[in-house]
Structures are given as C-alpha cells and as structure tokens.
Symmetry: C2
Subunit: 106 residues, 2 copies
C-alpha cells in the first residue's frame, strides 16, 4: 500500500497554492515559517491557508510546532526524500531507465 501513500503526498503537492506554500517552507529552511508569515507571503485567506497546511501536515510533508504565540511550520525533508525515492524507483528517474519487463506479472 505504499503507492497509496505516495499518491497522497503527490496529491498534496499537486495544487499550485499548496506547492507554493511548501516551496516557501523549503526556502525558509530549518528555521521554518510561522503561519502568519506564510499567509502574508502567499496572499490567501488565513482559513484557506490553514486548510492547505493541514493537508500538507497530514501527508507528512510539513510539521507544525507551537512557538509561543505563533505556529511554526517546517518542511519535513525525509518525507520528500522518500517521495522522490519512490518516483525514482517505482516510476523511473535516471535518464536510461528503459528496463523492459521486470516484475510486471502479465
């Protein structure tokens, strides 16, 4: 059922707004970014951002952590690495990758 999980993560990233959010978090690096900052930067309603953030968190791509009065969000790199691994592995990656039948039990 690994495929289901990968699909869920891909879906989470497969929305322009969420991808923008996620990218902003990645760029923010280890320090993360408070929700409010994100909102100002991306320019959407707070409730909408919260909704998207929740989906990213549920997909394991982002972590949220209370930091006094604000909620600090951070990109969770291991998940992204695993996802890229899945794509590269299950779904090809390297230039060559023209492996014919492999385990495709016809």
């Amino acid at each position: 059922m690994k495929l289901e999980i990968a699909a869920r993560q891909l879906e989470a990233l497969g929305n322009p707004t969420r991808l923008r959010v996620y990218r902003a978090l990645v760029r923010a690096g280890a320090d993360g970014l408070p929700v409010g900052r994100l909102q100002a930067r991306i320019g959407i309603a707070a409730s909408t951002l919260s909704h998207h953030l929740k989906r990213l968190v549920e997909a394991g791509l982002v972590t949220r952590e209370r930091q006094a009065t604000t909620l600090l969000c951070r990109a969770h790199y291991p998940t992204m690495n695993a996802l890229i691994g899945f794509l590269a592995d299950e779904c090809c990656a390297d230039a060559g990758c023209a492996r014919d039948g492999e385990d495709s039990a016809a």
Copy 2:
C-alpha cells in the same frame, strides 16, 4: 510559471488509479502498453481509464501512439526527470538539504 506546470504533473500523479497506470507504463518500459492491456491489468472501466490516460497525456507524463488497431501508451521519461528535478531543486531533495536561509528574502 514553472510551478504551475509542476503542480499539474504532481496532481496527475496524485491519484492512486493514475499512479498505478503510470507505474504500469514505466514497468512496461520502452515497449509501452496498449490501452486494453492497461485496462485488464488495472481493472477499471475503459472509459475511466481513458479519462485518466488523457490527464496523464495532458500533463506530458505519457504519450499515446496509434499502432494499427490499438493505442500504444508509453511513459514519457523526460517529463518525470524534469519533475524530479523540480522537486529536488525547488523543494529540496538530498539528505542534507538543511540549507537555512538561502534566497528566502525574509
């Protein structure tokens, strides 16, 4: 506007059925797979598969080519490579990737 494109491709892969379809095509390798084969393998209605296939094609992840009476589908690797590149680049990838501020013009 590259982000929009990446989001579109991620969304295309972000559905379990489509991801299954795509993976089947990748596994089929350079020979590709006719639609009918895919349908039998995945077990969904032909119309549903056609719909999903269309989305994968529109996202540039799959190519379709008439082969006499059947339509041969193939995974289009360059797109996947570019997508992985985008994720690795814009959205982190390598294990380390704890680059703090970089261009995050806070």
